[in-house]
Structure formats: structure tokens, C-alpha cells
């Protein structure tokens, strides 16, 4: 790739600094796997059929990490989207997606299947 050509005499300091800073940005705050608190991760599985979530209402414990598995039984792809949860995730047709949620405060959080918003909607209730 051409960009490396900037590593010519005169720019190495900026180059190294740039690379170092951005690598630190990318990696510096990554916690080692598995994430802390994974042991208490609550697991929930729902499915998507005929562009509808089943169940559409999911009750989860508050203040615990959630591992939400969505099985897409439709042949068409879908995009799981929840603005309040800050999640956007593509699910392939006949595919599965794992959505990890940080411990939630009590309350309800709406989500939709973005490609079929009319029918594919649901709520996560943390209590």
C-alpha cells in the first residue's frame, strides 16, 4: 500500500507517534478475554420467524450482563437494532447472532428488526 511511502526521511517521528497513539487507542483499553463478570452472564435465546420476534417481550435480571442469542429462522437477513441499548447487529438469513449487553438499569428497552420494522419489534424488560 502506498501510505507507507510517507515513512520517508523527514516523517518517521510523526509516523511512529501516530501509529503508537492509534494502536494504544485500539488496544490499550481492551480487557483480556473472557470479560470480567462473564460468569454471571444471564443467557436468553429468542427466535425470529416471519419477521416477528418470539418471544417479543424478554424479561432479564437488572444489573447483570446478558448474552442474548437471536436465531433467525427466516431465510432473509435482518438487522437487530436497539437505539436505547446502542446495539446494531446484522443477522444472516437462517443465521444466529449473539448480542452481549452490559448490566442494565431497571426499565424497558425497545428493539426492532430494522428491515421489517412493522412486524419485528420487541422489548427487553430489566427487573
Amino acid at each position: 500500500m502506498r501510505p507507507s511511502s510517507s515513512a520517508r526521511p523527514g516523517t518517521p517521528n510523526g509516523l511512529i507517534l501516530s501509529a503508537a497513539a492509534l494502536t494504544a487507542l485500539a488496544l490499550g483499553f481492551m480487557a483480556p478475554l473472557p470479560p470480567a463478570g462473564a460468569a454471571e452472564e444471564a443467557e436468553v435465546t429468542i427466535s425470529l420467524k416471519d419477521h416477528k420476534f418470539d418471544p417479543a417481550e424478554i424479561k432479564v435480571p437488572a444489573a447483570r450482563a446478558i448474552k442474548l442469542t437471536v436465531n433467525n429462522l427466516d431465510a432473509t437477513p435482518e438487522e437487530f437494532e436497539s437505539h436505547p441499548l446502542g446495539v446494531e447487529k446484522v443477522i444472516a438469513g437462517k443465521g444466529t447472532a449473539i448480542i452481549r449487553l452490559k448490566p442494565l438499569a431497571k426499565g424497558s428497552y425497545a428493539f426492532v428488526g430494522e428491515y421489517h420494522e412493522e412486524t419485528a419489534k420487541g422489548t427487553i424488560i430489566a427487573e
Partner: protein, 293 residues
């Protein structure tokens, strides 16, 4: 039809805004049209590939593949945009002078254009794959309204292109002596927003577990899911419910770009001359090097 238009437009908005800014930021550099076009085409090809392997990507890394992939693509764009701003900090004055003098595109700055092309490709690939998946879904359903959905989708794509044009035209109004300062700031904020988004992806995947509490909530004032919110989210990285690590990534990116640009600007004259001697070969042979040195 309208639903399809909105969905597709939502997805292409980000790429549209980025392309508009990038075109303005590379004003007057020869070959920028080609670089951006190639970036878009490569991004589209990438989109199809990503859509094809959506299931595999998703399953990788214990279901974290999609987030890791998105974050990697975003960081690539951030690095390319950073590169551009730093390069411009070093060459903006010279570029402006030559543009004024010649009044047409100059051959210098091609590598700066190349990194912008890569940034465009990354942006197109990220959102493009979602459009491809959406369209695949429409085709597979074979619904009676498939034609209407296709028209709606095409409309969404056209609107995305219109956004690019509006942003670009808006930035063309900026006087030449100011344009690289303005676009430098814009590209910096764009990069910071993308870095924050990359970190959000890693945080969502559970790979970052520090500073992940929500810092503030301004969704009542300007929701990220409203159109103005979406535009600001891409352009300046506006977030209505950011967590600590996202804000940190945002600030760190701005600081990094700023410091790198400062460093390049302050470099002693002797070193600058060396740089110019490298770019000399790219100029028409009739142009002397005296003014640059």
C-alpha cells in the same frame, strides 16, 4: 416503497457525508476523483463480500466477529483520515499557493488522495454491506411489491449521493485560503466520531469493560435516531448516550491528530526542504523548485 427508501438512505447517509467531506478536503488535487471513485467501487465490492459471509463473520470469535470486523474497518478509516490531516498540515500552504497560481488541479498530494480513497472505501463497505443484505432480503422474498421496494431503494441511494453533493457544494463556498483549515477540522471530527464508534463496537462485544457507564443522556434534546442527530453523529461524532470509553476515544483521537499536525508544522526548515525534494518529481518539469524550498 417509502420504508425501503428510508432504510437505504439511513445506511448510505454516513458514506454520503464522508464522501462529500473527503472530496472537499482534497480540493484541487489531481486524481482525487479517480481515488474516490475507486474507493467507492472497492467499498461496494467489499460490501457484497461482507454480505455473503455475514453468517461466518458473525460466528467468528465466539459471536464477536461482526463487532471486531466493524471496529477494524472503522479504525482503518480513522488512521487514513488522521494521515490526511497530518499530511495537509504540512502541505496546505504550498497547496493553496499553487492552486491560486495555477488555478487548476495540481499533481502534488496524490498520496493524501490515496488515503482518502481508502477511507471512503472503508465507509462504503461498512454501511454498504447492510444495504446489500437488505436488498438480498427483498429479492428473496419475491414479494409482489418487490418493484416498489427496488425503486425505493434506488431513491435512497440517490438521496445519499445528493447528500455528498450538498456537503461538497457547501464546502466549495469556503474561500480557498481557508478551505484546508476548515476541512482539516471537519476530517478530524469525522475521524474522532468513527473512533468512538469503533470503541462502541468493541464495548458492545464485551471486549472493553472499563469506563462503560453512560456519561450523559441528551436523547431528550437531540436523539441520535433523528435525522439531525444522525447527520451530526457522522459529521462531528455526536452521541446522545455516550459511555466513558467512547468519549475518551473521541478526545484522544482529536488530541492525537492535533499534536501530530503541530509537530509536522513545527519541523525545522531543513527537514521540510527534504520533503519538497521528494515531491518535486511529481511536478511538471517546467516548474522550478525555488519557491517551495
Amino acid at each position: 416503497m417509502l420504508a425501503a427508501l428510508i432504510i437505504v438512505f439511513r445506511e448510505v447517509l454516513e458514506a454520503g457525508l464522508i464522501i462529500g467531506v473527503v472530496l472537499a478536503a482534497s480540493r484541487g488535487v489531481e486524481g482525487r476523483g479517480r481515488a474516490v471513485t475507486l474507493g467507492v467501487l472497492a467499498g461496494l465490492a467489499g460490501s457484497v463480500l461482507v454480505a455473503l459471509f455475514a453468517a461466518e463473520i458473525s460466528q467468528a470469535f465466539a459471536g464477536r466477529g461482526q463487532e471486531i470486523f466493524n471496529a477494524a474497518v472503522l479504525f482503518l478509516a480513522v488512521i487514513m483520515l488522521t494521515w490526511h490531516v497530518v499530511w495537509m498540515a504540512n502541505h496546505a500552504r504550498e497547496m493553496t499557493a499553487r492552486l491560486k497560481q495555477l488555478g487548476h488541479a495540481v499533481a502534488a498530494g496524490q498520496e493524501s488522495v490515496l488515503v482518502l480513497g481508502i477511507a471512503v472505501g472503508a465507509a462504503v463497505m461498512r454501511e454498504g454491506s447492510e444495504v446489500v443484505l437488505f436488498l438480498t432480503g427483498i429479492l428473496m422474498q419475491g414479494a409482489s411489491n418487490a418493484a416498489a421496494l427496488a425503486i425505493g431503494s434506488a431513491g435512497g441511494l440517490l438521496l445519499g449521493a445528493a447528500v455528498s453533493a450538498v456537503v461538497y457544494t457547501g464546502l466549495m463556498v469556503v474561500p480557498l485560503r481557508r478551505v484546508f483549515t476548515v476541512t482539516g477540522v471537519l476530517v478530524t471530527l469525522l475521524a474522532a466520531g468513527l473512533a468512538a464508534e469503533a470503541v462502541r463496537q468493541l464495548s458492545n462485544a464485551g471486549l472493553i469493560n472499563v469506563l462503560d457507564g453512560t456519561l450523559w443522556d441528551t436523547s431528550w434534546l437531540l436523539g441520535e435516531d433523528t435525522w439531525p442527530g444522525r447527520v451530526l453523529h457522522v459529521l462531528i461524532g455526536y452521541m446522545d448516550r455516550p459511555n466513558g470509553i467512547e468519549v475518551l476515544a473521541y478526545v484522544l483521537t482529536i488530541a492525537t491528530i492535533f499534536l501530530l499536525a503541530q509537530r509536522v508544522r513545527q519541523r525545522p526548515v531543513g527537514e521540510k526542504a527534504k520533503l519538497h525534494s521528494v515531491t518535486r518529481s511529481a511536478r511538471p518539469s517546467g516548474v522550478t523548485d525555488r519557491d517551495a524550498a
